[in-house]
């Protein structure tokens, strides 16, 4: 086997190289300075510059369905959009890490190194079309993340979260690999492109292949927390430092859905009615479980965690739509647009939570937010925007996300999934309104951090404004996404 690496391959992976170089800067400086931490702001800016450069390189060199490394990686619209969304989310989460009490200060260079490595894994994941490449991306992203969570200054919950995430994450990876082995056994290859055209046929003729695809999909279901594989999500999101929860809920979820889309794009669903039915039911169950469980939560981060489970259910509706429709671009762009909206509002909600935290051990409860609107009117208003957007109230971005997603589903004849989706968003309204009720309508003195976290505040405000304004121009954005996927 001879391996040729041409210039075009290097150019295509240049975003990852840029991220890698940027990730090395802070940690190398620290070593050279005799294990003394440089100022966190410098570390942060090095990372952010790396991310910006990576985004630019991704836009400039990616696109137009170019493949690299012997069809191992593909750079198409999905790669670009999902890559940009996840990198931006990662950048915003790093800004939060810079100021959150559980992550700032000591070992910040190591943390940023790990976060950047995780981001490299993400880029591999969004561009991978070879299942083994997918696995490499998945593991690179996840391993860095386990360490990041365990590094938290908080002593107990974060360690539990890291271990739980590690065990269940490895389990999911094992499921995934198991599926890949079956696919390799039945088709003789692991590259999605190689069985892309006849997957719909293969699932009917080959039990082994169906088995493999099912396990691969289940592996992703773990990663994106589809019920009943969601049990780790609330514990991990709660135990991890808030910026990391934001990182996982947005960036990691985005890229996992990107890889999910790649598998689904083989049209295996059109061949197997069983698989199709199962996924539909999983979507319905996920929405119901996420929303009803969120109602019972008082811990703010846990509530958002369950809400993120529910949103995975909505997204799965989009994934199914993309998987069965002749024009997969419509469903897929619905998913991408929803992830953009979801990323903004979830990051925002976590950013506000991060600003409330007084110390690394502070637990933010919804009931403790009484009086928050009087103490921090600006932040309370931002949180209100995020929550209303999560609930899908127009004219926020969240409403348009749901609109495009369910529009595609209805167009594909999946009316009942859309009906389940909208009914669930009504359940969602109940718990999204609760923090607003407590903040604005109950008197009290909220226990919040006295200091102001400037960069995080700016991030939150920018996101709130973006959620409102992007709602009005959602049409052109959606069309741009869809056009790039055709």
């Amino acid at each position: 086997m001879n391996i040729n690496i041409g210039l075009s391959d290097i150019l295509l992976i240049s975003p990852m190289i840029a991220l890698f170089l940027a990730s090395l800067l802070p940690i190398t400086t620290k070593v050279l300075r005799g294990n003394r931490e440089q100022h966190s702001l410098i570390t942060l800016s090095q990372a952010l510059i790396g991310i910006v450069v990576a985004v630019v390189l991704l836009v400039v060199f990616g696109g137009a369905d170019k493949t690299a490394f012997n069809n191992g990686l593909i750079f198409d619209g999905v790669t670009q959009w999902m890559g940009i969304i996840s990198l931006a989310a990662a950048g915003a989460a790093m800004v939060m890490m810079y100021e959150n009490p559980a992550t700032k200060g000591k070992q910040f260079s190591e943390l940023i190194f790990l976060a950047m490595s995780s981001a490299i894994g993400m880029l591999i994941l969004v561009s991978a079309v070879d299942l083994l490449m997918v696995f490499i991306g998945l593991e690179m992203m996840s391993l860095a993340l386990y360490l990041m969570i365990a590094m938290s200054h908080e002593e107990k919950l974060s360690k539990e979260a890291a271990l739980k995430y590690f065990v269940l994450g490895s389990f999911a990876s094992a499921l995934f690999l198991y599926g890949v082995a079956f696919i390799f056994g039945s088709t003789g290859g692991t590259n999605i492109l190689s069985f892309m055209d006849n997957a719909a046929e293969l699932v009917q003729t080959s039990r082994l292949f169906l088995f493999g695809v099912t396990f691969v999909i289940l592996g992703f279901c773990f990663k994106v927390s589809i019920a009943p594989f969601h049990a780790w999500t609330p514990d991990v999101y709660q135990g991890a430092p808030t910026p990391h929860s934001a990182f996982m809920a947005t960036a990691v979820k985005t890229v996992s859905f990107a890889a999910f889309l790649r598998i689904i794009a083989t049209k295996s669903l059109t061949g197997s009615d069983h698989l199709f039915d199962i996924l539909q039911w999983l979507a319905v169950i996920t929405m119901i479980v996420g929303n009803t469980a969120a109602i019972l939560q008082n811990n703010f981060k846990r509530m958002i965690a369950y809400s993120s489970v529910a949103h995975s259910g909505y997204l799965l509706v989009g994934i199914i739509t993309a998987g069965v429709s002749d024009n997969g671009a419509f469903g897929a762009s619905g998913v991408i647009f929803y992830l953009l909206a979801y990323g903004l509002m979830t990051l925002g909600a976590f950013a506000v939570a991060s600003m409330i935290e007084k110390s690394e051990n502070h637990i933010v409860n919804v009931d403790d937010l009484a009086g928050f609107a009087k103490q921090r009117p600006m932040l309370a208003l931002c949180l209100t925007v995020f929550l209303l957007s999560l609930a899908g109230i127009p004219p926020t971005l969240g409403f348009f996300g749901k609109f495009y997603l369910f529009n595609a589903a209805i167009g594909e004849g999946l009316l009942w999934l859309a009906v389940w989706g909208v009914l669930n968003s009504v359940i969602g309204v109940y718990y999204y309104l609760r923090p607003i009720v407590v903040m604005y309508m109950k008197d009290g003195e909220a226990e919040i951090a006295g200091h102001s976290l400037n960069a995080t505040t700016v991030t939150a405000v920018v996101m709130a404004v973006a959620i409102i304004l992007m709602g009005f121009v959602s049409g052109p954005i959606f069309s741009a996404v869809e056009k790039s996927l055709l």
Partner: protein
Amino acid sequence: MILSSIVFLPLLFALLIAIWPKANTIRHLALGLSLIEFLVSLSIFKHFDASATGLQLVEKFMWIERFGIQYFMGIDGISLWLVLLTTFLTPIIILASWTSITERIKGFHVCMFILQTAMLGTFLAMDAIFFYVFWELSLVPMYFMVGIWGGARRIYATVKFFIYTMAGSVLMLVAIIYMMYLTQEATGQMSASLLDFYKLQIPFVGGTFFSLQTLLFFAFALAFAIKVPAFPVHTWLPDAHVEAPTPGSVILAGVMLKMGTYGFMRWVIPLFPEASEYWAWLFMLIGTVGIIYGALVAMVQPDVKKLVAYSSVSHMGYILLGLFAFNAYGMGGGLYQMLNHGISTGALFILIGMIYERTHSREISKYGGLAGVLPIFTIFFFIITLSSIAVPMTNGFVGEFFILLGTYQANPVFAYFAVSGVVLGAVYMLWMFKRVFFGEQGELVKDEHHPLHDLNAREIAVLVPMVIMVFWMGLFPNHFLNYSKASIDYLVNNRSNYNLTIVQPGAVDVTHAQGEN
């Protein structure tokens, strides 16, 4: 640009108030701005052609091309008066809230103006998604209004209000999206424009629930019935009304409930003619039950505000009855009754707010003999009571009379039962009036530590426009109905094949010229 400025000026005002630095002048500023808004809305008359049946002053731009969603506003005889009702009530509400809203004044007025934008947009939007955005947006400021400035059980009431209304409208969203696909099938181009929806021929099969038109019909009707609120889904209303602050109750009763009945007139009946015809009995039944049930429940309320809230259920039942009579009397009366109810129930809530500010109680049993202590207040209350029970010469009479006439033509049985509501209405209102204003002085009235003061100049200024409207609308209904007549006749006569056209500004002159030739 008139309609756009009417809809979006309040939003601009909300921003202005949000950044206004001086807390003590916010009320004056808000009052002035809302009066400007009212004057701007009056300028519609300059361009409005009462004889045209189509949409006027249309503004139409592509908003989301991929799905044919437009920025599309237009006005006709049906929405004209609802728009004016909204802009007319807002300054009154702001003036009425002068002393009752004492904290977070800035937030209150910002909510008020955002709400005004949302309500006006709901009445003027002619694109389904554009309409839906305003429809849902109106929940948010109302939610805050009840939740922040409301009474003791405000949180329960406001969350119930929000979830009830939202639950109704999400199915409408699914139905809207479905109809967008139907337009794509019919014309090849997806569109959310209401005018394109009107052109659809949606298959209807009688006798079964599971026919396409019936399902779409109920998806829309549920959303609007909850908003109205029609009988079995009315339970959010008494809670919301009782817990809302006075301005919230006024805007809720005065305008927001009309969004539901307007929805029936604009969307449900013309879009699904066969299904509405087939299920008309159900909605007439709901309306009639609502009339009688609302009146009976109102009769036994110990709380005067709750009494008025249930009287709303009763009055809204009339409107529903009138609309589903499908004739010019019923529809015209229904539209007229929407305005009447906005004026008279709005005024009742303002009056109750005024007495509540003085005594901090709404228990009927604690009052009595108020007429001797507060004569001016009593006179105003009496006039509005008469209007509410539809005594001739007041506005209520015209509306109820038309509705009953129309109902009798359509289905006499419902008219027989609905008439009893007129009697029951008189019973609960007059009985309440007797217990509050006459008889022995109640504990609150003779309380010597807190002597009651009669209405001051500001409060009289709030009530006088309402009373003028009561008599104006009662004595000269044609001043108002003439503007709506063409649209309503057109809707009644072309119900099964409804098609709104866009009236071009110059078009009227052309027909005149042809007539002369």
